[in-house]
Symmetry: C2
């Protein structure tokens, strides 16, 4: 019998308890022993909950109970999650977490603590919800040097872009629909809309794939607020989809570059057809070529099932250090996105700032043109557009064209 | 330093040696020690090969060398692969194999031998080539009860169907092109074309997901020889793709049913857009919903990279039994496909054998009609068609319509 503690009884935490209960027998078979929840830590009271006897409010009970070998963190955010995870690891306990903010901002430090104590810190649910990506990247693709990762890792923005495309909705209307459906936060949806959630996830994937921590503030991050139905229609009529892409890449000089940006993606790409709240993550390996992992990126039970898969792994392997680890940041080997060579979609009125660009077809508002530039450092595209604006060209929008 | 032996120096075996060499440093880092090939077993001579000093022709050298803890089997086919793998396991060695025929026909027995000896038998490369599926199914989706698996698991037939669709080629012409490009066997392409390869793969996936071995002779297996451009055009104009689907499912009564069959799949499905030699495998879990794994299903280096990922895992975990296991066949809990309820596409001339079917639109040859039947046991569709034929209806083609 393995005893675990669940910290945080919100959407994911209560889902973890539910999945452990629902699939109790098959999980016990896979873990080769029963898994039982000994404590649930939450500051709130749940007097009607069937698990009400398990609730505690004092973390030190978990910390000091040697029977608890696995701790599940579903509190979210930085604190107190950070303190509780750190202290759990220092107490020699294995930890599974769904907390992307925690791993994106403190991953290197916490993984080092885990290694020093010979325990494991797993976080499959932090990226892709229920879509397996952390373990495949760490284990299944181990024979590959990963060259590049690109993903649609935020379901809310993908839902909004899908509605804008399929129903010709304006951004604000699609956002309101997403809020009404509970996909986007009502009060402040900016974590999704402005790309911060995607940024945290690509930080985690990049750190794991390339071995050095990338922090969110290092990553060029742009959301989808300024995407219009005009851009989407223009892209579609030229055989491109507009998607919010989180990407990381090893450049020819060995340095890493990462970005979150709306982008044009060819309809031939496996990423173009990902609609609604679904996620898809493409991993490009030197040996393997492209592999894509696709599925429902969020939701209570999918995310909980990823956490429980980690719990099963931790129970099965307690006593064995699994080697999931990356070093702290290596700023010398990180290049800003402005130095990466990309082609860009530009929609403008007035003089064409890129005389060598390829014109796009399709209907555009009176007086507007759309082009795709040749491959240029992204920073150069930005500065040429700035210059063109100062000379009277109206730039309506621009975004990279990415090849996946 | 971990010493391994590679048996079989064909496409995959030589690829394994190449990948171990090419990514030597990063692989050593992941395995936490160097991996070195001590022997290569092949009956042929390779006097010009840079590894020529490693070649041996006598298996017992590997069997009796205690330094070899991991054996890689890339011989293919049943014998001598079976004997060598069995003896390797009995000698207490861990084994990685790419041999789908071996696992589909002897998996339960060999996994039991491995368990008895406390060693691991891994076979990630046997399904999906480089696309990770065995390990995700076993580990990442461990919190789920898998309900259903459906995949495009044979690149050759998918290439042929893609050519028939995109270039309106007849089956024979598309097959010839596949042979010229080296995707299909020149002398006897039937393992691919008639669905046997897909059948072996679904046997492996079904056995792993549901815990009881399914043997190839239990599975309804139909290939793509009788698919015509007319069927594909008709399907496409009604928003369906024609795909060779290998599927397995737990039925409401708990029994398992499996089949390999060409089928109509809605354009909305993630399986419909899989083109060319690519593979995609959809796993439907009770908790997680649908997850799709997509990538290049064959090819020397992708397949080799999957084998090498297994080798890294075996080296890291030698001494730990990983619990990859299924029981032998449970025929009482296996239902033939004829009992499974499906809707079917039927193209015919003459009287409609399914008056309650839905007519399909689109252009068909003079006098022909196409319909989709209501949900019926597949065997009943077959027998109604037989009866209709005896009464003068010409049945041009039929296949299931599957919902993924």
């Amino acid at each position: 019998m393995a005893k675990i503690a669940v910290m945080g009884y919100g959407v994911v935490g209560s889902g973890v308890v539910e999945v452990l209960h629902k699939n109790h027998d098959s999980i016990a078979k896979k873990a080769k022993e029963e898994i039982s929840v000994k404590y649930i830590l939450d500051l709130r009271d749940f007097p009607e909950d069937p698990n009400r006897d398990l609730f505690i409010k004092d973390f030190s009970i978990i910390e000091n109970d040697p029977e608890v070998e696995v701790v599940v963190e579903c509190i979210g955010g930085q604190n107190p999650a950070y303190v509780f995870v750190k202290r759990s690891l220092l107490a020699g306990k294995n930890v599974a977490t769904s907390n992307k903010e925690l791993i994106a901002t403190r991953g290197a430090e916490l993984l080092k603590t885990a290694r020093d104590k010979g325990v494991n810190l797993l976080f499959e649910a932090s990226v892709g919800g229920g879509v397996p990506i952390i373990r495949p990247l760490h284990q299944c693709l181990a024979a590959n040097e990963v060259c590049e990762i690109a993903g649609i890792v935020n379901g809310t923005t993908n839902f909004i872009l899908s509605k804008m495309k399929n129903e010709n909705m304006a951004f604000d209307d699609a956002l309101k629909l997403a809020q009404d459906l509970g996909y986007a936060e009502k009060i402040d949806p900016s974590a999704d809309i402005d790309g911060h959630d995607s940024c945290r996830k690509i930080c985690i994937l990049s750190s794991l794939a390339f071995g050095s921590h990338i922090y969110p503030d290092m990553v060029y991050t742009r959301g989808i607020r300024d995407i219009t139905p005009t851009d989407i229609t223009c892209a579609e009529s030229n055989n491109y989809a507009v998607k919010l892409i989180a990407k990381t890449k090893r450049l020819p000089d060995g340095a890493v570059s990462a970005a979150v940006t709306p982008a044009l993606v060819s309809h031939d790409s496996q990423l173009a057809g990902v609609e609604d709240v679904f996620n898809a993550i493409l991993v490009r390996g030197d040996v393997l070529g492209d592999v894509v992992f696709y599925g429902r990126g969020a939701g209570k039970l999918p995310t909980a099932s990823a956490v429980v898969a980690d719990v099963i792994d931790l129970v099965q392997n307690r006593g064995t250090y699994k080697g999931l680890f990356w070093n702290d940041v290596d700023r010398e080997n990180f290049h800003p996105f402005s130095e990466e060579n990309v082609r860009c979609y530009v929609r403008f009125s007035g003089q064409n700032p890129f005389p060598d660009a390829t014109a796009l077809g399709g209907k555009l508002p009176e007086g507007q043109q759309a082009v795709i530039t040749p491959e240029l450092p992204f920073g150069e595209v930005e500065s040429r557009l700035k210059q063109a604006k100062s000379q009277g060209t109206q730039v309506h929008n621009m975004m990279p064209v990415l090849n996946y």
